[in-house]
Amino acid sequence: MSMTATVGRAHADPHHIGLVVEHPGPASKRIVTAYGFWVFLLSDIVMFSCFFAAYAVLSGQTADGPKGSEIFEQRNVAIETVCLLLSSFTCGMASIAADVRNRFWFYLGMAVTCVLGLIFLAIEFREFADLVARGYGPSRSAFLTSFFSLVGCHGLHVSAGVLWLLTMMAQVFAKGFRADVLRRMMCFALFWHALDIIWVGVFSVVYLLGGGA
């Protein structure tokens, strides 16, 4: 195919439109990786949307059990939200530190992100444990089923994120700011911020709307 690489531009455009912007060729690895991860995030959000839909369908089906307003504690949820939003900020700081190859600020940013994520998880775990102890576990009613699944699915994502975060720190420690490590760091940051966006949805749909009902 190489033999004809330089011939025939005039023939390919018989109508002389000539305005076609030639595609420059394959994108760089950094762009390809981030793009692919974006596509994954979109698919992950589709999965969450199913749990949101299930919650919307089932939130009224309390089977004589508690309603949302009877079990949600707004104060805890507020702390959770602050933790997660702050962690997005510190994660952003860690990303900037990685971009300028500053290990100290990278470790600090990641460590704070990790601690905030763990606080979030601890509060969520306590909320779940408390509900189960009071007999309001996920088997109590369809409403609680959908509540535990939606919030728990987000919690599982945050847990996976923490595991990934620690792996990233270990990797920077062992390998330094290599190109592939930086690409993974970029994906991790995208993941962490996406979880924040989903939490905003959970906070609004579950705790704000449900708390008022």
Partner: protein, 676 residues
């Protein structure tokens, strides 16, 4: 001994000797035959010393062409398994008139559930994904897909799902719920066994593989195209690949979420789809079909792409109405998400809702009709060569139109109320899936086989296979339309209505013809491999093709192209050939460069190994093994992330040596054509 049982339950969960169906000869013998076959192949491989070759060249390969071939191999093997199920069902319905037939109900129910599950998830899906993997990077003029190692992970996870489904044949049981496992039947109270768990976990695991493949191919098409390969210069197959994989990315998470909900109901006593505590069964219907309807377009769009390539090549013309084809493809991609409710018009959503979805279902037939006309006009005035791929394409057009028309018929809600869950419906979806997807897969198989292996397939056996399959299809499925009109419902283990009997007998005879078609297909492969020297494709362009996959040798070198092709218009390779003839070829020696390629990696295989352990353990409630499998899978990824060299370099001299051989063959061909 309660204490002993507790220890056993901790160690083995629900698993004990009663899981092996010693009292049922059919699955036991079938399982034994498969086991002996697998062991035989393994022993042969080890004794002959092929194991290192298999490990280095195939199992750990991250080359998109090899992975594509493995996908197609998996699909072909599973086609035989799903086909055996089909034969058993046809025989059962032929003999079970006023009698129990030879299959007990609980076994028959497993067979039709396994048949549907296998044919969709482990035949149709891997076949089209395999073809897309094999061809799309070549058509785009690039060296690999966006994420080669992930590609391997995706394949091996699909294989894991297939393995688990087959395992259910001998250890435990498969679902008796139909291929979509509707609750409450699939809930714990009506399906307490492991059948539904086998179903759900194998689909969850292979679903992850499919999602990975989808992300990979979307990114490949959108971000990895060679210079000058603008969107509106991409071959049609790349467009349908893009549309199909966008649908995978948007629809498969719905399947994952839905099956996760079903599993939560079954394992942890949740109430998504139960009759008690406010669960909503119809929510399952909505969710599963919000995935399920896009799924049929995920399967058939790549087939449409294959037919576009085949019809254009064998008519010797550019595809008629290229832009309208692109538009039709993307229209189908969008509308396919707006028709899911037509699978349950009888749910009682009300006339307005049913009307909207009925109209949407009829509208989606319009872009499909556009495509049919485009293919017909491509053939019109062309110099048509009726090679085997073209036969499949023409057979498809005839068959798919009939299937499409019956589809538009059941898209009318009042008609659907009469035909819902009848044999008419069974005939309809087999008409579109066999006539569309399977014919497409076979066309693609015949068309791109020389590209993958370097020799053509035997035309005589290929044509025999086509005619037997084509006729067999009609003899098998047209009677089912009639039986459906006569009121026969689907999934009947036995029946007492005399009027249905003759049609079931005809259908069974048709199944025999279809089986001959399959045998011809196998014979074709055997004969072609034996005569491979005579069928050798030396130039890399056996069909006088038009797109870039024919611009490299057959089989292509690992790096696909020694130089990234520079594309100037539609039908990139046709353009190059025409100009090469006019200019009687430049004989200058090109300057070769080193090429970097991704290194092989066992990550996919090892990851699938742990996924198999984890899936099996989840099915049988062996919790310690679940944890072990999870840790193993995570560790695999960490080890992968830790490696220091993920690429190797092919030196320029080696590239030059490989490229020159093909260049010489090609020059002699073109100069011969130029002399004419």
């Amino acid at each position: 001994m309660p204490a002993g049982r507790t220890v056993e339950a901790t160690m083995l969960g629900k698993l004990d000797w009663s899981a092996i169906p010693f009292d049922q000869p059919i699955p036991l013998i079938a399982g034994a035959v498969v086991l002996v076959a697998i062991l035989g192949v393994l022993i042969w491989v080890v004794v002959k010393g092929h194991l290192p070759y298999l490990w280095h060249e195939w199992i750990t390969s991250v080359d998109h062409k090899r992975i594509g071939v493995m996908y197609i191999l998996l699909a072909s093997v599973m086609l035989l398994r799903g086909g055996s199920d089909a034969i058993m069902m046809r025989i059962q319905q032929a003999v079970a008139y006023q009698s129990q037939g030879y299959l007990p109900p609980e076994h028959y129910n497993q067979i039709f559930s396994a048949h549907g599950t296998i044919m969709i998830f482990f035949v149709a899906m891997p076949f089209v994904i395999g073809l897309m993997n094999l061809v799309v990077p070549l058509q785009l003029g690039v060296r690999d897909v966006a994420f080669p190692t992930l590609n391997s992970v995706g394949f091996w996870l699909t294989a894991t799902g297939a393995l688990l489904v087959n395992l259910s044949l001998v250890i435990g049981e498969f679902a008796r719920t139909g291929w979509l496992a509707f609750p409450p039947l699939s809930g714990l109270s009506y399906s307490p066994g492991v059948g539904v768990d086998y179903y759900a976990w194998s689909l969850q695991i292979s679903g992850v593989g499919t999602l990975v493949a989808g992300i990979n191919l979307v990114t490949t098409v959108l971000k990895l195209r060679t210079r000058g390969m603008n969107y509106l210069r991409m071959p049609m197959f790349c467009w349908t690949t893009l549309a199909s994989n966008l649908l995978i990315v948007a629809a498969f998470p719905i399947l994952t979420a839905t099956l996760a909900m079903l599993l939560l109901d079954r394992y942890l006593g949740f109430h998504f789809f139960t009759n008690e505590a406010g669960g909503n069964v119809m929510m399952f219907m909505n969710l599963i079909w919000a995935w399920g309807h896009p799924e049929v377009y995920i399967l058939v769009l790549p087939a449409f792409g294959i037919f576009s390539e085949v019809v254009s090549t064998f008519s010797g013309k550019a595809l008629f109405g290229y832009r309208s084809m692109v538009l039709a493809t993307m229209a189908i991609c969008v509308i396919s998400f707006m028709v899911w409710l037509h699978h349950f018009f009888t749910m009682g959503a009300g006339p307005d809702v049913n009307a909207i979805f009925g109209i949407a279902s009829m509208i989606i037939a319009v872009p499909t009709g556009v495509k049919i006309y485009n293919w017909l006009f491509t053939m019109y005035g062309g110099r048509i060569r009726f090679a085997t791929p073209m036969l499949w394409a023409v057979g498809f057009m005839v068959t798919f139109i009939i299937g499409g028309l019956t589809g538009v018929l059941v898209a009318v809600p009042p008609a659907d109320f009469m035909l819902h869950n009848s044999m008419f419906l069974v005939a309809h979806f087999h008409n579109v899936i066999i006539g569309g997807v399977l014919f497409g897969a076979f066309a693609g198989f015949e068309y791109w086989f020389p590209k993958a292996f370097g020799f053509r397939l035997d035309e005589r056996w290929g044509k025999l296979a086509f005619w037997f399959t084509f006729l067999g299809f009609y003899v098998t499925f047209m009677p089912l339309y009639v039986a459906g009109m006569l009121g026969m419902t689907r999934r009947l283990q036995h029946y007492d209505v005399a009027a249905w009997r003759p049609w079931m007998l005809v259908a069974a005879a048709g199944m025999a013809v279809l089986t001959i078609g399959v045998i011809c297909q196998i014979m074709q492969l055997v004969v072609s491999i034996r005569n491979r020297e005579a069928l050798r494709d030396r130039t890399g362009d056996p069909w006088d093709g038009r797109s870039l996959e024919w611009a490299t040798s057959s089989p292509p070198p690992v790096f696909n192209f020694a130089f990234s092709p520079d594309v100037r218009g539609e039908d990139a390779y046709w353009d190059m050939k025409t100009h090469a003839r006019q200019q009687s070829l430049e004989h200058e020696v090109p300057e070769y460069h080193d090429i970097e390629m991704p290194r092989n990696s066992p990550t996919g295989f090892v990851c699938a190994f742990f996924a198999t352990i984890m899936g099996f353990a989840l099915i049988w409630h062996i919790w310690w093994m679940v944890i072990l499998g999870g840790i193993g899978a995570f560790a695999t990824f960490v080890v992968f992330a830790w490696r220091d060299h993920d690429e190797y370099v092919i030196p320029a001299e080696e590239v030059a040596r490989i490229d020159r051989i093909n260049l010489e063959e090609r020059r002699s061909l073109v100069s011969m054509a130029g002399a004419l």
